[in-house]
């Protein structure tokens, strides 16, 4: 797999060479651009990675809740491919990190079960020349916006990497007898509740494992997304995403926020 990803990275050579001459590109807004300059970073380039991926087929048992490992693997591998390619581009630019990372999945008409997984972000470098690479010697990645990045650095924490966990889960259908029994009653549906809990836990645990590997002390800005993609109603992907952070400086004087009342709605 790494051979392929290198090959694709090679085709980006010319574009990245131009960026090394001192032009930067970035999808940051002006606000974000200025805030990133404010904390001593300079943008280097808009970096991207993508992979168009075919997800396999896995049979589901109508009445059984279970993880669909083949689909979980597909969702994870494809995102990982896109992320790694984006990181490769950033490393090639000599970046310290990538901020404002967005991960997207797009479905097109290329055939059933084929989807484009894409990761984009802005590669940045510290202006003081001190390396900010993470524990694994790679540029850090983070899905924090420019505003959140500024705020995070004020608190003495630094991002280490974008971490994610995913779990595709099939939730059992209820039997007819069960459905009839519960008609007209107030009652918890324990099999549904249990299945949702389990899937969520699996996704969260996997995300935390990634953070541990990075030696992070916490994960901020965690989002938990539930999507059915194109699998029909009882199959759900739980995706948790967040930025792993570590404390880098202890003497932090946080400015007290000024309270204001805005006169417009």
């Amino acid at each position: 797999m790494s051979d392929e990803s290198n090959e694709l990275a090679r085709t980006t050579g010319h574009r990245l060479e131009e960026l090394e001459k001192g032009l930067f590109t970035s999808d940051l807004s002006v606000n974000e651009f200025l805030l990133i300059k404010e904390v001593g970073y300079h943008p280097l380039g808009f970096v991207m990675g993508s992979s168009i991926y075919h997800t396999g087929i896995q049979t589901r048992k109508w009445g059984q809740s279970q993880e669909l490992t083949k689909l979980t693997e597909a969702m994870y591998n494809a995102r990982e491919l896109a992320m790694t390619r984006m990181e490769d581009e950033a490393a090639q630019l000599g970046a310290d990190g990538v901020v404002g990372v967005r991960l997207d999945v797009n479905y097109y008409e290329w055939g059933k079960d084929a989807a484009e997984f894409i990761a984009v972000g802005t590669a940045v470098k510290a202006e003081d020349g001190v390396s900010r690479l993470n524990k694994l010697g790679k540029p850090f990645t983070s899905d924090l916006s420019g505003q959140d990045f500024w705020t995070l650095l004020q608190t003495g924490y630094a991002p280490q990497g974008l971490v994610m966990g995913t779990c595709v889960y099939h939730i059992a259908h209820r039997g007819l007898a069960q459905a009839i029994q519960s008609t007209g009653q107030n009652l918890e549906l324990p099999n549904f509740t249990q299945a949702l809990y389990e899937a969520r836990e699996l996704a969260m645990t996997r995300m935390q494992d990634e953070a541990t590997q990075l030696g992070a002390s916490g994960i901020v800005g965690v989002r938990l997304e539930e999507k059915t993609h194109q699998w029909g109603s009882h199959t759900i992907e739980f995706l948790s995403l967040g930025t792993a952070v570590t404390k880098t400086s202890n003497d932090v004087t946080l400015a007290k926020p000024i309270t204001i009342i805005s006169l417009d709605n």
């Binding site: 032009l23 970035s26 002006v30 943008p43 993508s50 075919h54 396999g56 084929a114 007290k256 204001i260």
Partner: protein
């Protein structure tokens, strides 16, 4: 071509689609709005080119590039006639159809307060809002123009045997991924080339529209644009933002979504 463009509005009235806040912001950095200006360009594409072939669909790419640069030129000529030094808050509407590509731009011409008109070669165009423009100026940067790039590439079809073999597998579709990479690299390179031609040192707020089109599922389009900037003076000026905590109550409406 000049006959297509409207005659210059009288210089005594100011038209602008900037909000009051944005106008105030502009004034705070010593600029003022002059007039609402626009530029439109439609280029035809021969309909047969979309579905079969290899590599880049040069006809479509050329049409798109031309439509973009002609629309910008017209917008700038309009702005020069109005006495502007640049155009901010440009709304970009672009659409790609089977038979043509259309780009239309509307923005507000601005100039430093009481400045004299300048020539068309020095004028800039930017899709930054009035407020972003003011911030950029305050930080010691200036916009130089709109950089753009696009590329349309054929995505090779898979053979039936391959489709069947891959039916049940988790596998990357390298032919599509490669086509996507070619489109992206070519378009981004063009964006950078136009930025360098404007003597820029950076492009901010880069926007990307990508993917196959509804009428041509085996062609990938990638279009990108952004505002080219460079430092005006010698150094970047720090903004020293302060943290504020608005004490207005967030207006949250209770919403009970039905469980399905």
């Amino acid at each position: 071509m000049a006959s297509l463009e409207s005659a210059s509005a009288s210089a005594t009235t100011t038209t602008s689609d900037l909000s009051i806040d944005e106008e105030l912001n502009l004034h705070s950095v010593g600029w003022q709005p002059v007039d609402l200006v626009s530029g439109v360009s439609v280029f035809s594409v021969s309909m047969g080119i979309w579905n079969w072939g290899q590599g880049e669909i040069t006809g479509a790419t050329k049409a798109h590039e031309n439509a973009f640069s002609h629309a910008i030129e017209r917008l700038q000529r309009d702005a020069v006639r109005a006495g502007g030094h640049g155009v901010v808050g440009v709304h970009i509407e672009r659409s790609v159809h089977r038979s043509h590509v259309e780009v239309s731009l509307v923005g507000t011409a601005v100039r430093p307060i009481d400045a004299v008109p300048i020539g068309p070669d020095k004028i800039f165009t930017s899709d930054l809002s009035g407020r972003d423009f003011s911030l950029l100026i305050a930080a010691g940067w200036q916009p130089l123009g709109l950089a753009h790039g696009s590329s349309f590439v054929y995505a090779p079809r898979r053979q039936i045997s391959t489709v069947l073999a891959q039916q049940s597998q988790n596998i990357e579709l390298t032919n599509y991924t490669n086509a996507m990479y070619v489109a992206r690299e070519t378009a981004m390179e063009r964006l950078q080339t136009t930025a360098l031609a404007l003597a820029g040192t950076g492009v901010v707020q880069v926007q990307v529209v990508e993917g196959p089109m509804s009428f041509a599922s085996h062609a990938i389009s990638f279009a990108t644009w952004g505002t080219v900037v460079r430092l005006r003076g010698d150094a970047h000026r720090r903004m020293d933002p302060q943290m504020v905590l608005p004490m207005n109550d967030l207006h949250v409406a209770f919403e009970a979504a039905t469980l399905q």
